[in-house]
Symmetry: C2
Subunit: 120 residues, 2 copies
Amino acid sequence: MRIGELAQRASVSVRALRYYEEQGLLLSTRSPSGQRHYGEPAVDRVQLIQHLYSAGLTSKTIADLLPCVDAKVSTPESRARLTFERDRIDAQIAELTQARDKLDAMIALTGTPASGCAYV
Amino acid sequence: MRIGELAQRASVSVRALRYYEEQGLLLSTRSPSGQRHYGEPAVDRVQLIQHLYSAGLTSKTIADLLPCVDAKVSTPESRARLTFERDRIDAQIAELTQARDKLDAMIALTGTPASGCAYV
DNA sequence: CTGGGACCTGACGTTGACGTCAGGGGCATG
DNA sequence: CATGCCCCTGACGTCAACGTCAGGTCCCAG
């Protein structure tokens, strides 16, 4: 498929896909005229990339780790890195949970009619 | 206390505190020569601001919501906003949890060469 | 009174993941 | 062969939360 279709199917922009390729995260075969073509697995790969981005990994980190996943091999460094990122995400989840509780407290504080609520 | 001490006690940079004031998140009294002075509650307030930032709220959102918390008063809009942000954080936690599980799978896939390698 | 921290106000620099625009080609359809 | 849509490569713009630098002020100890 061409880049437009992949973009639609993976719910990302065409620009993002070109950026992923620029960062070494996504490969494409080129037609003689230079147009990018992708196979079916590209859809899943893009979604994996999106997941890792939304988990707060940078392009460089993803670029370092994806080849290990592709090759299904790991070095001590890549394992340490994966574990490090996993722990970072755990910490971030904890932080978000705490922030959510703070927000709940704010909602309770400002939102209960008993504690003085100004309806407009 | 002056800005340097507040920065230390709240574990943020001096620049960040000036930025918070610029964004309307943090007030200060000024000495005749223009230096900022803060009371004890400023420490907690800065930490609350930090929590909200780390939860992904923007300066503008925080600026909109903090006065409601200060006044312990809410409008239907502010409650909707608080609830919206709370739900957004919940979704983000779910996303992070999913990403963490993906990372765990990657660790399992690449990290145990002895066990069979499943295809993704 | 003199040195040296801590502080002040601009104002430009940084980083990451793209958005967007300019200028030009590819290709199927009428 | 023209038209309309998709594609290409640069390359500059964006946004947020600060970092950093320049040039000047404040204040306390010695």
